[in-house]
């Protein structure tokens, strides 16, 4: 498996955002790093199917997303046999993840259906276009747009209901003023 050094560097440059995407999907850093590792191994094993000049990061994100989808389904089936301990661990993990200030957002994100969460993160955080996100998720552009909208509305509802200080009007107003 001889890897072209330029391609290797491009892959390495994508790793930080692959990890961020994996953390957003799994809500768990260790799990995320395992996902990234599996993604890289799978990508390298199939490197011949990557066409140079096409979008490498979309290609890698697609692999990671599919990997997450299939493993998550598999794990969920296993967990059902195993007294829900895994699900419990998933609930506890977000608080061990980095900054406390994002805990509300993490908890809200975790309540979104998978398809809405991945669409929102790809478009709202990873910076992919709707077209690229549609390619990564294997669906129509219109589907991505509606998932992103539904995710945004649902998150806004969850966050304003939770009464997070950041989301009361005064600080929103202050924030808006400060940004000008």
């Amino acid at each position: 498996m001889a890897l072209d050094p330029a391609l290797r560097d491009d892959i390495l440059r994508t790793v930080p955002s692959l990890r961020a995407f994996a953390v957003s999907l799994s809500g768990n850093v260790d799990r995320a790093d395992d996902l990234v590792q599996e993604t890289l191994l799978r990508a390298l094993a199939n490197i011949d199917s990557f066409r140079p000049g096409t979008n490498l990061s979309a290609w890698l994100f697609t692999i990671l997303r599919n990997q997450f989808r299939s493993e998550y389904r598999k794990r969920r089936r296993e967990v059902e046999d195993a007294d829900g301990k895994y699900a419990e661990r998933l609930k506890v993990q977000p608080e061990q993840l980095g900054k406390i200030e994002f805990n509300e957002l993490r908890a809200a994100l975790a309540q979104l259906p998978d398809d809405q969460r991945e669409a929102l993160v790809l478009v709202g955080a990873s910076g992919f276009s709707y077209e690229e996100a549609a390619e990564i998720c294997g669906c129509a552009v219109g589907t991505i747009k509606s998932r992103v909208n539904r995710a945004r509305n649902r998150l806004a509802d969850l966050m304003s209901m939770s009464g997070t200080e950041d989301f009361v009007p005064d600080s929103v107003t202050r924030g808006l003023l400060a940004e000008r």
Binding site: D33, M159, S160
Partner: protein, 73 residues
């Protein structure tokens, strides 16, 4: 559920004086804030860079014996 606006958020919009006639101006503020937080959370992870395990993994794969590439000229 998507179109539902909570009475609470409408009341807050009115109080804040930022309601410029559009019923969704508070929602838009929340959306903007939400977008910022989401990006921040994401970029926190991005800024951690490439953990050694992945750099090592790729380096190792590169060194995997391959007769053709073993000794580049």
């Amino acid at each position: 559920m998507n179109d539902r606006k909570t009475p609470k958020s409408q009341a807050k919009a009115a109080e804040s004086g930022k309601n410029d006639g559009s019923p969704s101006s508070l929602d838009r503020s929340i959306q903007a804030k939400l977008g910022d937080q989401l990006r921040q959370m994401y970029n926190d992870v991005v800024s951690e860079g490439v953990p050694d395990r992945f750099a090592d993994l790729l380096a190792q794969l590169e060194k995997t014996p391959d007769p053709k590439e073993d000794k580049p000229l």
